[in-house]
């Protein structure tokens, strides 16, 4: 087992162009002993978002995606969609949409 097969890639110059995130909190509405609604309790924060990164043309993945993603989405993160394109001015552009559960274990 060596460095090449343990999953670490080379660092890549990256420009994070935009980050859009929206945080949601699930709520549980409890009933008190008389059956009346009691205080809602928020738990399990969930962050939906998208991130757009630019790398220079020829980068394998259009920039250092994990670094860009880690800056906003630590915890369990589902990358729902990833698109990759070369722009007219020769940058590699990658768009990721994700859902992040920062409190998940």
């Amino acid at each position: 087992m060596g460095p090449a097969d343990i999953g670490i890639t080379e660092a890549s110059d990256t420009l994070v162009q935009s980050v859009d995130i929206e945080q949601k909190l699930s709520e549980v509405v409890r009933q008190d002993k008389d059956g009346k609604f009691a205080m809602a309790q928020a738990f399990d924060p969930e962050i939906s978002g998208s991130i757009k990164v630019l790398g220079t043309t020829g980068d394998a993945v259009g920039g250092d995606l994990v670094t860009a993603l880690a800056s906003v989405a630590a915890g369990v993160t589902i990358v729902k969609e990833k698109t990759h394109a070369t722009t007219q001015d020769n940058f590699d552009e990658t768009d990721l949409s994700f859902v992040n559960f920062p409190g998940a274990s």
Partner: protein, 169 residues
């Protein structure tokens, strides 16, 4: 296709390249990622970024591990063995393959993974963060200056600022 990551972030107060590299290699998160790898869960990547903040420079490290399940099926008899036998089993990969669910095999795999991961982390160049408005440029130390100049220009840095940044990298 969806991919599920498990991302861990850790901040270190030092922005010194050598100190932060050593701290990342020694981090319990490196041990955890190595244990995941030894348990059959792939490591997606690691990164180390040096950031300048109003409260001073710091290093932010992140480990991305594939989200999954590890299965442990301990299968061994309680036993007492000599130091010599313990050392022999730790060296003997044939014995470990024949006894994959013995704690000595787990230890040997985890230690090898930690060594490989620590070496890969130490060899990976850090990134340095430069912010301008909504843009964040993450540039490698010793990277391709022309590529970096293009990214900094796109982010809106002036030619003078770009020259200063590139001379510092």
């Amino acid at each position: 296709m969806q991919t599920t990551f498990h991302i861990i972030r850790e901040e270190f107060p030092s922005a010194n390249e050598r100190e932060s590299r050593a701290a990342c290699v020694a981090s319990k998160n490196t041990h955890g990622a190595a244990a995941a790898h030894a348990s059959g869960i792939g490591i997606i990547d690691f990164s180390r970024t040096i950031e300048d903040t109003p409260s001073g420079a710091k290093t932010v490290a992140s480990w991305a591990v594939r989200e999954g399940e590890a299965e442990f099926r301990p299968d061994f008899q309680a036993e007492r063995i000599t130091t010599g036998e313990l050392l022999r089993r730790m060296r003997d990969e044939d014995w470990q393959q024949a006894n994959p669910h013995h704690p000595i095999s787990y230890m040997a795999q985890a230690l090898r993974a930690n060594h490989s991961l620590g070496r890969a982390i130490a060899e990976k160049k850090p990134l340095v963060s430069f912010k301008r408005g909504k843009f964040q440029a993450l540039l490698t130390i010793g990277g391709d200056k022309e590529k970096q100049r293009r990214l900094l220009t796109r982010a809106g840095f002036t030619p003078t600022e770009i020259t200063e940044i590139l001379s510092a990298l």
